[in-house]
């Protein structure tokens, strides 16, 4: 296609090799305009963040105006979630290393860092499961319990999806896979998403466990 920059419309140029309908479909191709997929993902993450924001607002309001009945059990252990927080923060750094490895053309290093990231994510999920099974309250015991499970469960779903994405990215970074230094979108998208999930957890940890 001709350059689209001629503001005054140098018309003699245009007709020479324009992209006439029928020659190429163009729809759904990403070659014709700048790649805005990461921008789109970021917009989606803003939306996803608003879902969490709604949950957080509900939780904080419940906490402020709905005192729990006497004898309600809502004590949380701090040790395991704190370890989990460390794992998740660490995994953001390992993912970053994986991305750097890909761009530098160090395929093997990239794949190793990805595997470590996925393992950290799985460890987080395992820790979450252990915590769930040892908590003294169930989903419907009281308002705090319900909100606790809703928040951590919704976040856990995000982590699960993230781990699946990392494994797909890991598979696609193999030699002759779809993701390489020249086409890093899949990895970049998964990384952006993973940092987002990590950031949400930090807020969640702050208001649910520390506050």
């Amino acid at each position: 296609m001709t350059s689209l920059t001629s503001g005054t419309g140098d018309l003699a140029q245009i007709s020479s090799d324009v992209d006439i309908a029928g020659q190429s479909d163009g729809h759904g191709e990403h070659g014709e305009h700048p790649d805005v997929r990461l921008f789109g993902l970021a917009t989606f993450l803003v939306a996803d963040g608003m879902t969490f924001a709604g949950f957080f607002a509900a939780y904080l309001t419940f906490r402020a105006v709905n005192p729990l009945p006497e004898n309600s059990n809502y004590e949380l252990e701090l040790l395991l979630p704190s370890i989990n927080t460390l794992l998740l923060v660490l995994s953001s750094f390992t993912f970053h290393r994986a991305g750097r490895g890909l761009l530098r053309g160090e395929g093997q290093a990239c794949r190793s860092w990805l595997a470590i990231t996925a393992a950290l994510g799985l460890a987080f999920l395992a820790g979450q499961m252990v915590e769930y099974f040892h908590l003294p309250f169930g989903l419907t015991d009281n308002l705090f319990a319900s909100t606790f499970y809703a928040l951590t469960g919704f976040h856990g779903l995000h982590v699960t999806l993230g781990v699946i994405c990392i494994l797909i990215v890991w598979w696609q970074t193999r030699t002759a896979g779809r993701i390489k230094a020249s086409t890093p979108f899949g990895l970049e998208a998964a990384e952006l998403y993973w940092h987002f999930v990590d950031g949400i957890w930090l807020v969640l940890y702050g208001i649910l466990y520390l506050l």
Binding site: L4, T140, F154
Partner: protein, 567 residues
């Protein structure tokens, strides 16, 4: 110094644009409209036709409501059925008709033209967003036929009412709204990316047609507020299915939190429904008044102001929900402030019309009626923002009247106006003017007859959502029902017009309105790639009546492109 004559902007006849060549797996002809097409124009029309089908359904439901309310006793349908019909009417009209059509249909069709792109930023996501709608709609309607029936708690689904009505219908309602919300968010992401990132090089933001700004503002509202509704409805479904107590006072929950979260979406939803209409009317009026849009910059800033303010006014729906005085004060003031940017837009439209060369065709009639209706709805809106007045009329027919003046008198009038305006572009044929004006007359009279009396009824205390009422309200309710009947009849000439004109209508040519906005600078209907050749750079989309040499015609007209001698 010659005046820029409309012929400068008339694209040459490009009848039957060549759409040949290998099209891959995309079907040809009308089958495209039933396929997972990635063409934004096809998707736009898919939204449109699908939306109109649901409009007729929602209208039939409204007919049931008005027939029931023609007499003070519950005689036409059972009370439970009335509740279901009421809920389905609201949900269908908002989530399956207005939001998809005024955003999805016109947005998908027009925005790529306006930014000078060949398609939306994410065509596949776009198709997914559309194809979420039919299943969601079918799901919602089918819930009427299941055991226990459809949801009965109104389109707001307030707990504890939504926790005590038959649960299966309510859960299906939630799933359906979640699907539609997802569709809306995907659409919003697409519009934001397209408007911000896909503009033709050289095209500045402040040169975009106003509908782009309106859709940008709308999409920001969609992306920020719809997820909150989704999260809230998920919590509500937990309350229904798993018997948690988020919103159940009997289990220590808090119903007011639901109301806050719900209105955090549903007040912006009003702007999601009406801001695109503001944008569309800003396209239509300058063309048919042959004048530049008055106050472009103030229009842009008022859209931004409406978006920002629209996010912080939700609790004015909750003045009677035990809202503390400081909150009432804040939300009254914030809501009243919205009247300022809205008023700016209103006066800008009037100033655009002022001393214009107005063609009072069907599109313009609906657009002018929009201004009248919307001002009336806007004034009652400011009144409702005032706490003492709101407490008096809360949950009465005054609110119903106000709301329908905004969404029907406002948005639906503009949808009709836009159909008359863009039908030649969609199909290459004109709609019949006489039928169009007849349609307008019936709609305008029917609409005002239907909803104006409801203000009086509400002021005198007739509660909304109830099938029975005090017999002293009978006469005005019958007037309202006659108005509704007139509105129902008014769709017949419209329907006849759009169907017959598609085959027998006068051939429109590429630019029947002699317009300057980019979608008219191509053939009607446009080729798959929107323009043969390069997209025109339209820096003055409203340059009507300006001398040609003052127009700064960096603009590449379609005529220039097509008349260009081959090298």
């Amino acid at each position: 110094m010659t005046l820029a004559s409309p012929s400068d902007f008339q694209a040459p006849q490009q009848s039957s644009p060549d759409q040949g060549g290998p099209r891959g797996l995309q079907p040809e002809g009308w089958l495209r409209y039933l396929s997972f097409s990635l063409d934004h124009k096809v998707i736009g029309l898919q939204y449109m036709v699908c939306g109109f089908l649901f409009y007729f359904l929602g209208g039939a439901l409204a007919g049931v409501i008005r027939t029931e309310l023609a007499s003070p006793i519950s005689d036409f349908v059972s009370r439970e059925t009335y509740n279901e019909v009421l809920t389905l009417h609201g949900t269908v009209m908002i989530f399956l008709w207005i939001v998809p059509v005024v955003n999805g249909a016109f947005g998908n069709y027009l925005i790529p033209f306006y930014v000078g792109a060949r398609d939306m930023a994410f065509p596949r996501l776009n198709a997914v967003a559309f194809w979420l709608i039919p299943p969601a709609g079918i799901l919602l309607i089918s819930s009427y036929f299941i055991k226990g029936g459809a949801a009965q708690s109104g389109w707001t689904a307030y707990p504890p009412l939504s926790l005590t009505t038959p649960s299966l219908g309510q859960v299906i309602w939630i799933i359906s709204v979640l699907l539609l919300g997802g569709s809306s968010i995907f659409g919003g992401i697409n519009f934001i990316a397209t408007i911000l990132k896909l503009r033709r090089p050289g095209l500045k933001m402040m040169q975009l047609p106003m509908y782009c700004w309106a859709m940008l503002g709308t999409s920001i509202l969609v992306v920020l507020s719809t997820p909150v509704l989704a999260g809230t409805l998920i919590l509500l479904s937990f309350d229904i299915i798993a018997h948690t107590g988020f919103f159940n006072p009997a289990l220590g929950g808090n119903v007011v939190v639901y109301q806050h979260l719900f209105w955090f979406y549903s007040h912006p939803a009003v702007y999601i429904m009406v801001l695109p209409a503001f944008g569309l009317v800003s396209e239509i009026i300058p063309i048919h008044a042959r004048k530049p849009l008055f106050g472009y910059t103030t229009m842009v800033y008022s859209i931004i102001a409406i978006v920002v303010l629209g996010l912080v006014v939700w609790a004015h729906h909750m003045f009677t929900s035990g809202t503390p005085p400081w909150m009432r004060l804040f939300f009254t003031i914030a809501t009243s402030f919205i009247a300022v940017p809205t008023g700016i837009k209103f006066f800008n439209w009037l100033a655009t019309l002022w001393q214009g060369k107005i063609a009072l065709n069907s599109a313009m009639l609906f657009a002018c009626a929009f201004i009248v209706n919307f001002v009336f709805g806007g004034i009652t809106g400011v009144a409702l923002a005032q706490v003492p007045f709101d407490i008096h009329v809360h949950d009465t027919y005054f609110v119903v009247g106000h709301f329908h003046y905004i969404v029907y008198g406002g948005t639906v009038f503009i949808i009709f106006s836009s159909v008359y305006h863009w039908y030649p572009k969609f199909t290459g044929r004109m709609l019949d003017e006489h039928l169009g004006r007849f349609h307008f007359l019936l709609t305008f009279i029917g609409f005002n007859l239907c909803f104006a009396p409801q203000h009086w009824l509400g002021l005198n205390g007739m509660p909304r959502r109830v099938a029975e009422y005090d017999p002293s309200f009978t006469t005005l309710n019958q007037v309202s029902s006659v108005g509704a009947l007139l509105m129902a009849v008014s769709t017949l000439p419209f329907l006849f017009n759009v169907v017959v004109s598609a085959f027998r209508g006068e051939v429109a040519g590429d630019n029947p309105w002699k317009a300057l906005t980019p979608e008219w600078l191509t053939s009607s209907p446009p080729p798959v790639e929107n323009w043969i050749g390069e997209a025109p750079l339209v820096t003055h989309p409203y340059g009507y009546g300006a001398p040609a040499d003052r127009l700064d015609l960096k603009m590449v007209t379609a005529e220039q492109i097509w008349n260009d001698p081959k090298p």
